[in-house]
Symmetry: C2
Subunit: 323 residues, 2 copies
C-alpha cells in the first residue's frame, strides 16, 4: 500500500487536475501521488460532496466535461429537474445523474465507517486511474470565507453567492487538529522526487492543504524541490475567483502575487510566457523561475507543461545538490 511516490502534486479541482493528468503521462501514473484539497467538501441533501477530489477523479480518467469545465461528460440532469419539483430551494447546487453515483456511494461508505482516503483510492482504481489520489486528511477540514457579508462556508460563497461578497479572510476549520492521511505522510517521509503545487487557487485550493501543520512540516522537511505553477496568467485567473481574491486581499494580481503568496515555501515557480517580465522581480524574492506556455487546452499541452515543470524541478534539485 505505501510504496514511495517520487512525484507529489498538491491540487485543487479542475485546473490542478489538468496538470496532474500531464504529470501522470510523463512520469508513469504509478509514480504520481495527488494530494487533494478537502476544504470545499460539504454535505448537501445528506450527501458527502468532495468537489476537488471528484474533479481529479474525473479529470485523471477522462470522465470530465472539458467544454463545460466541470462535472462529468455525457452527463444528464433529470435528477435535478425532479428534485426541483419537490424542493426548489435545495436545487442551487448542480448534481448530474452520473455524478450522483459518486456522492451516494461515497456517503454510504463513509457512514459505514470507511475513511475518505480508502474510498477515494477505490474510486480511482474503479476509474482505471493508476496515480494515487488522496485527500490531505481523513479528518474534517472546512474552508470558511470571511466576507463583508459575514462568514460563510465555501460552497455558499462559491455557488449560492456566486463569489460576489468581498473576501476579508479565510479560516480552515479543523486544519490545526487534522492528521495527514497516512499514505501521504509515509510518501513524504520516504522522500519524494519532486513536489508540485498545481495551478490551483492559492487561497481556497492550496492553502487549506498547507493549513494542516503536520503536512506543512512534512513539506518543509522534504529534500525535494517544491515548484508551483502560477494559476494567474496575464493578470487573470484561468478559472474561478483567484484574481478577485488576490485583489480583495490587497495582493498583486499577477504571477508575482502568487510567488509572494508561496514565498518561503517554494523553490521555484513556472510562469506563463506573457508574464516573462515578472521573472526578475520573482527571482529577487529568492525563487527560481521557469517561463513556459502554461495554458492547457489539449492533452499535449498538459504533458508538455508537466514535462517542463519536472525538468525545472530537476534543475533546482541539481543546483541544491551543488550548493
Amino acid at each position: 500500500m505505501t510504496t514511495p511516490c517520487p512525484i507529489i502534486a498538491i491540487s485543487g479541482g479542475v485546473g490542478g487536475a489538468k496538470l496532474a493528468r500531464g504529470l501522470a503521462s510523463v512520469v508513469g501514473a504509478s509514480d504520481l501521488m495527488v494530494v487533494a484539497n478537502v476544504g470545499d467538501d460539504f454535505e448537501h441533501l445528506g450527501l458527502a460532496i468532495c468537489p476537488d477530489i471528484d474533479s481529479l477523479l474525473y479529470g485523471l480518467s477522462e470522465r470530465n466535461d472539458e467544454a463545460r469545465g466541470w462535472g462529468r461528460r455525457d452527463e444528464s440532469w433529470n435528477f435535478m429537474a425532479a428534485l426541483a419539483e419537490l424542493n426548489g430551494s435545495e436545487a442551487w447546487f448542480n448534481l448530474g445523474d452520473r455524478d450522483l453515483a459518486v456522492h451516494l456511494e461515497r456517503t454510504r461508505r463513509l457512514r459505514a465507517g470507511e475513511s475518505l482516503s480508502t474510498i477515494t483510492s477505490d474510486f480511482a482504481r474503479a476509474f482505471g486511474i493508476a496515480a494515487r489520489v488522496l485527500p490531505v486528511t481523513d479528518d474534517r477540514l472546512s474552508t470558511i470565507v470571511v466576507t463583508d457579508r459575514g462568514e460563510m462556508p465555501f460552497q455558499q460563497y462559491f455557488v449560492a453567492e456566486r463569489c460576489e461578497p468581498k473576501v476579508c479572510d479565510f479560516r480552515f476549520e479543523g486544519a490545526k487538529e487534522a492528521r495527514v492521511t497516512p499514505d501521504v505522510a509515509e510518501s513524504l517521509r520516504r522522500g519524494a522526487g519532486a513536489i508540485v503545487v498545481c495551478p490551483s487557487n492559492p487561497f481556497i485550493s492550496v492553502d487549506p492543504i498547507l493549513a494542516v501543520p503536520e503536512f506543512l512540516n512534512l513539506l518543509r522537511g522534504s529534500a525535494a524541490p517544491i515548484v508551483a505553477v502560477s494559476p494567474i496568467v496575464g493578470g487573470m485567473a484561468l478559472k474561478g475567483p483567484a484574481a478577485k481574491m488576490l485583489i480583495e486581499r490587497g495582493r498583486e494580481c499577477s504571477a508575482l502575487g502568487i510567488a509572494r503568496h508561496y514565498q518561503g515555501l517554494i523553490d521555484g515557480i513556472v510562469i506563463d510566457q506573457v508574464d516573462e517580465y515578472l521573472a526578475e522581480p520573482i527571482r529577487a524574492l529568492g525563487i527560481a523561475v521557469s517561463v513556459e506556455a502554461t495554458i492547457m487546452k489539449t492533452d499535449s499541452d498538459k504533458t508538455n507543461l508537466a514535462r517542463r515543470t519536472l525538468a525545472f524541478s530537476e534543475n533546482i534539485r541539481q543546483g541544491k545538490k551543488a550548493e
Copy 2:
C-alpha cells in the same frame, strides 16, 4: 389538516394506484384518502425507499411509466450506469435518475426528524395530487418473507431473488407496536363513506396494513362497508407474485381464494366477469359479490371500475341500513 375523507382506499403499489386514480376521478380527489403499505420499505445505498408510496404518487399524478409497469415516465438510468462502475453489487435495485430525487429528498427529511406522513403529504401536494396519500403508520413496519431458503426482507425476496424461493409464511416486523398515522385514524373515527381494498397483493400489500392492530380495530369499528377488488382474474395475478403466493400458501388461486383471505373483514368483493362462476361460492361465505370488468388499461377503465365499486359499496350500505 384532519378533514374527514369519505372514501378510504387501502393500497399497495402499481395495481392499487390504478384503482386509486379511478376513485380520485369519481369522488373528487379531495374526498379520497389512500392508506399505503409500508412493509416493502427498505434502505438501499443509504436511501429510504418506499416502493408503494412512490407508485401511488407517480400513478396518481400521471408520472408513472405505464408501459414498463413501474417507476417514472421519461426516466433515465445514468446514475445506475455510473454506480455500477463503482459498486456492481449494489446495482441490483433499479433507481432511475428522476426517481432518485424522491428517495434522496425523503431520506434527507426523515433524517431531519420529519415524519413519513408529513413528507408524503408534501410530495403529493408538490405533484399536484389532491387526494391524500398516507402511510398506514409512521413507525417501522417490515415485511419478512419466510421461505424454504430462510427468512428474508421483502425486497431481497422480490427483486434480488426474483420471487423464486417458496413462500412458507410472512411476518410483519413492528406491526404490533406500530401506531396508525394520526390523520388516518382521525378519518376512520369520524366515519368514512366507503372503505375499498384495492386490487393489490393480499399477502404483501394489504396484510401488512391490516397487521397494525390499531388500524384493524378502526376498520372493524367503522360503519362504512368494506369492499375489496380481487387482484386475481381468471386464476392469474395481473402483476406480481400473488398467484404463486396463494398456491404456495395452500389457498385457491382465484377470486374465491381472495374472498376467503378477507373473510370476516370485507362486506363485499368485486370480481371479474371471467370469474362470474365464483359469485355463488363467494356469496356462500356471506360476502356480497359484484361482477365487473376489472382489468384497468385506460383511464376510463379505472374510472368505470371505481364508479361501479362505489355503487356496489353504496348498495351494501343501504342493505346494512335496511337490516
